[in-house]
């Protein structure tokens, strides 16, 4: 394993500090002493997924550090919370080899599983969270099919097929120009500006990583000067002041990355602003029975080229969004649709209306994600978003929805087991776990199945006797046979695993396993018999009782017996269902 030596790290640290203090480099992990950030650190320390997710959505800086120089990632890594680490990394926490903070997170990793997770997110392999959006927009410059461009810009001898909404969103100059004449279909640049310069500017505008060095490679000094002047001129004309500076300076990797990240955030914000001001503001809410009468001309002020329709739950109102195929292509569903020879891909006088099988709120969430990469929606629509994303093949959004469900789904109950050792729950659960696990199965999100197994394991007392639970087990068993010929029931396996985790946490130090082995088999059978006429309702007494109502000597003994009872119940359930697992 390639690990830096101490003096190398110290040298890197010193030069980094120098770079930061001289203002060349922005600090990756600025000091943050706000209450929200300290709460966030605490959540990471304790492994509180839900709190962490909520704070992240509220906009806490995932890469800041506290007064002891700890970043949330280091804390979570040190304390061994795998899911939290995953959450942090997915939200852009940096873990880069060869940086002080990155190495610290690796050093401190509690176990190899976490270490490997961290390594897999090293900057070289992972990407800026906005990179997928940027990559898509960049690809629009060169994508030949389907045709989505609506304006042609010509410089010298080259012409570029472009998208008005992107031009308007990114360049104030175009915003003004297009507002004056939205129907413009072509635009010619003065001859003084070379095509190369325009290409560079457009690549920049379309979120590509542009390096002027590459562009100028192989040009003579004169040509170089012409191109540079052209870029400068275009930058000023399009009112993208930072462009010239952004693409000229190419120094070290981190500086480059920071600049790139800043530019992506700025670009995304521009796009988001434009999206909210135009797409969302121009949505139309009409009575569903009149929706068929809606006609949008091809030339419209927001440059939409297709309409999306979503109906309210009660079916009375429909909402119509004018959107851009170019962006919808991020969904494989739309990509196939617009590439096919079906009606939606044909040119018609008025824009096609594509019906989507979700509420306007869900559709708006999806569109927001597609246009801005943002996915901060609530638990209330998470399952709907999950299904919609599955239907439209937007994998990333699906994962986001699953993440939200699994991190917020525990309701107000903390996921931190230490705080709820006895499986006590709120009277009112935030989720219908049966619904979630089926959704997980339907949409093939492994994470949800694991989440639910854990959820149930920690509250098995409540579910073990419900008829629907038995049904669920049966369903899981069926899924297995459909996949491969084995005898395990995945759900039960998972539950058993989490159950052992739940109890072992407290037994680990006391040789619980040995104790288990000492238990005579007869005892276990006796326990299983006792389970059959179990009555949970009398678990109201204040004394320390086991699940079968016996009074246990202390909480420790209570746990041991409860564990046996629960395992026995699972066996009994399987036997009843005729499953052999």
């Amino acid at each position: 394993m390639d690990v830096k030596r101490k003096h190398e790290i110290e040298a890197a640290l010193a030069s980094e500090a120098q770079a930061v203090s001289s203002g060349r480099l922005k600090e990756d992990s600025p000091l943050d002493t706000s209450v929200a950030f300290l709460d966030f650190c605490e959540a990471c320390r304790r492994g509180d997924l839900k709190a962490a997710q909520e704070l992240l959505q509220a906009g806490v800086n995932v890469n800041a550090r506290d007064q002891h120089d700890y970043t949330p990632l280091i804390l979570a890594s040190l304390c061994g919370h795998y899911e939290v680490i995953q959450l942090l990394l997915e939200n852009g926490a940096l873990c880069e080899r060869d940086t002080f903070q990155g190495e610290r997170a690796l050093y401190n990793a509690l176990n190899d599983r976490i270490r490997n997770l961290l390594l897999s997110y090293d900057y070289a392999k992972s990407t800026n969270p906005l990179q997928p959006l940027a990559a898509h927009v960049s690809s629009l410059l060169t994508r030949p099919e389907p045709k989505t461009a609506d304006i042609t810009i010509t410089a010298y001898d080259q012409s570029f097929r472009l998208h008005k909404f992107l031009l308007a969103a990114r360049s104030p100059y175009f915003a003004k120009k297009l507002a004056e004449a939205p129907n413009t279909a072509s635009w010619k640049l003065p001859h003084a500006i070379p095509a190369e310069a325009l290409r560079v500017a457009l690549q920049y505008l379309y979120f590509s990583e542009v390096s002027l060095r590459n562009v100028l490679h192989g040009l003579s000094d004169d040509e170089e000067l012409v191109v540079l002047n052209g870029v400068d001129k275009i930058g000023r004309q399009l009112e993208m002041e930072r462009m010239f500076e952004d693409i000229t300076e190419v120094s070290d990797r981190r500086l480059l990355r920071q600049k790139r990240a800043e530019e992506l955030v700025r670009g995304r914000d521009q796009l988001e602003l434009w999206f909210r001001d135009n797409v969302l503001k121009n949505k139309m809410i009409v009575d569903t029975d009149q929706v068929d009468g809606i006609r949008w001309d091809r030339d419209n002020s927001i440059f939409a080229d297709v309409l999306l329709r979503a109906d309210d739950d009660d079916g009375a109102k429909s909402t119509i969004y004018g959107v851009h195929k170019a962006m919808l292509l991020r969904s494989e569903y739309f990509l196939t649709m617009f590439n096919s020879p079906f009606r939606e891909a044909q040119d018609a006088r008025y824009l096609h209306v594509v019906n989507l099988d979700c509420t306007p709120q869900v559709l708006e969430t999806i569109l927001t994600f597609i246009y801005t990469e943002r996915s901060d929606f609530g638990l209330d629509i998470a399952v709907d978003v999950l299904f919609a994303a599955d239907q439209l093949f937007i994998e990333k959004l699906k994962q986001r929805a699953a993440l939200i469900i699994s991190s917020l789904g525990n309701g107000s109950t903390s996921t931190v087991e230490a705080e709820n050792p006895r499986g006590e729950t709120d009277a009112e659960e935030a989720i219908d776990v049966y619904e979630i696990i089926r959704a997980g199965w339907d949409t093939r999100v492994q994470r949800l199945e694991e989440f639910c197994a854990r959820y149930i394991a920690y509250r098995l007392e409540h579910y073990i006797d419900e008829a629907e639970f038995a049904e669920l087990v049966q369903e899981s068993a069926k899924r297995v046979t459909a996949r491969q010929e084995t005898d395990t029931v995945e759900l039960i396996d998972d539950i058993r695993w989490y159950l052992s985790e739940r109890f072992r946490l407290r037994f680990e130090d006391t040789h619980f396993d040995e104790m288990m082995d000492e238990n005579p088999k007869a005892d276990r059978e006796a326990l299983a018999d006792a389970v059959k006429d179990l009555d949970i309702s009398d678990k109201t007494a204040g004394a320390v009782r086991t699940l079968d109502g016996e009074i246990a000597g202390d909480e420790f003994a209570q746990d041991a017996i409860n564990y046996q009872i629960l395992l026995g119940k699972i066996d009994a359930l399987l036997e009843n269902l005729g499953l052999d697992a």
Binding site: M337, A382, V383, S412, A430, D432
Partner: protein
Amino acid sequence: MIAGRGRQRIRPPRRGLHGDDLDFDSTWVSIEAAFREIHTKNASRLSYEELYRHAYRIVLKKRGDELYKNVYEFEKNWLASEVRGSIDQLLSPNLLANVQNVGGTTANERRVSGEKFLKGLKQAWGDHQVCMSMLADVLMYMDRVYCQDHRRPSIYTAAMFLFRNEILQSNISETDERDVLGLLNHVILEQIQMERDGDIIDKHLIKSCVHMLDGLHADDLESDDQRLYNVSFEREYLDTSRIFYRTEAEALLRDSDAGAYCGHARSRIHEEEDRCRSTLLDSTTKKIQNVVEAELIQNRIHELVEMESGVRFMIDNDRRVELNLIYDLNARVDENKSEVTRAIQRRLVEMGTAINSDAIAASQATSTSAQEKNLNQQTVAAIKWVEDVLVLKDKFDRIWRESFNSDNLLQTAITRSFADFINSPTFPRSSEYISLFIDENMKKGIKGKTEAEIDLVLEKAITLLRYVQDKDLFERYYKKHLCRRLLMNKSISNEVEKQMISKMKIELGNNFTAKLEAMFKDMAISEELTSGYKRYVEGLGDRDPKRIELSINVLTSLTWPMETIGGTGEDDASKRPQCNFPASVEKIKRGFELYYNEKHSGRTLTWLPNMGTADVKAVFPRVPQKDGSLKERRHELNVSTYAMVILLLFNELPVEQSLSFNEIQAQTNIPHNDLVRNLQSLAVAPKTRILRKEPMSKDVKPDDQFFFNEGFKGNFVKIKVGVVSNGNKVESDRERRETEKKNDDSRNFCIEAAVVRIMKQRKELSHQNLMTETLSQLAAQFKPDVHMIKKRLESLIEREYLERVEGAESYRYLA
């Protein structure tokens, strides 16, 4: 924001996603209707969103397998009825008749019906692909979810299998059990056959059908080696091609000559290559080439090479283009090109042997005529031999360059063949002949040639020299010839001689030329000596009008071939009778010896009068001229030293007195042989009869009397009196035996030296290793006879340089 969400609950998923309100049958009806539209090319009116939604819901409701099955059945029915129906219409009786090989249809009819069939099939396949990709678009969710979960092939793949099953593998008709695929193969093959016969066919059309076969697999796993193209069509194609080419090869061998055969084979190979590119698939190129090569070349190459119009004919008639063809063909199937190589080598050795025997015949043809003439004849034969070999070499070089693409293997083979016949044991004269060739050129041949031309001649000689194995023998001859050239001043240009030496140096190394160079050095020193002596004499005092001028060559005895110089060899140099010079000459001789000893003390000069010449001014008495006046005649006679000594005897003799042979010999002490020859040239040769002999006969007998021939008439003032047997000629048999003996002697020394060198270094060595090392050390000079080495070893052991190691086949060096 967070606060608002704290108590969020998940709402139940909406609207029937999870309800049981799915009416599968009616949904399917609408899907099916849409699919029909797609198949009838009316898709542009259909809504993708709607179709997708239907399929999505069905899959979400876990009824994906029903959907899959329905689509499958639908497609199957469609293919079986609609598509199959349209194919059926193409199966004209004409087409079917072909399959059964029933005659009665013209080629044109067959082509038209075949093309129609291919077009129809291509159309059906194209439509099927387009429709199925649209279906796959609509059923994307099913493909991704249901098919992946249940390990089913995607609907597109399944539909491709269907096309294979329902169309290609279906029977032609109820009564005809052959399948459409077989028919397709047959039609394509027939079209290809038409093209082979010179017709034009629609390559593009066939290519489309081939692509179809390439896209389909014989199994359901889509494994790469199960493509229909490979397992069905290609196999048949290769088989029919094999039969076709086998028949064609037979016919061609029977009906045309080798050149035409090669040309045809080559164009067939290219044709097949083109066909693979334009009509079939590139992956077949290699395979069909193997077939064509096997049938047209591999199995026939031997026959082809041996044909009457085969390689031998081509070589003899310089058919270089055809040779190139046959070489090319052979190279395709055999990287060693063994057949062609063998034929070439055989022919080359044959031709070389013919040259050898011509030379021998020429040298013996005139054995009945005079000795001198005979020798000349042999020289001519030698030069002719060299030139013939060079012509042969040129011929094969050209063939090699133009026909064999300068192939290294063949160059080696040709070189080996040349070496074979040049060093052939039945022809031992190559070294001598080459040396003679050089000699001839040095003396006459290069006169008036430009530098480049001369260089070419020298280069030719070197080329031949390369082939010669016994380099030492050559060295011996060359030295001998060079010696004569130098001493007799026969060489046209010293420069060219030196050039030759430096060329040999490059080719054979320093050792080889060291002695030759030393000879040149001696010549240079001698010139200095001569002029130095002349200055020395002039410095001595008054000019003596009667002084005899001396031009001298001092030769280092070891460098020069003594047998040539001394006539009898160096071993009896001390016993050689000293010739008695006349007083005036003797004086000069002493003078020079004095001068020389002053310069180099301790050196012995041995005079070789047999090698010298002298210019003698002779005055003949007045004889009546044509105009009646009497005139003294003066001639300058250029004679050998011996002749000069003889003539001077007559100076002191009164007119009309004679000397007998014995008297002359007694007075001069000239060796018998030399005396006979010199007297012959002075008294017998008709143009230089300065002496008169009685009785007049050709032979010189001891009691013959010699007179000064006062009536000698010469047309020129300067007269050169040649001595019989002067100059470089082919050796007589006796001389050759002698040369060989000498050569063997010096080889013996070389071998002993090599053995001692090796043993000194290795101390102990097995017999086998010693032999190998010795052979390799000597390879540059000559190829020693193993028997000879053994003898030398014996001799070395006798002389206690080596001893045998007890009980082992090895030797030890004794220091």
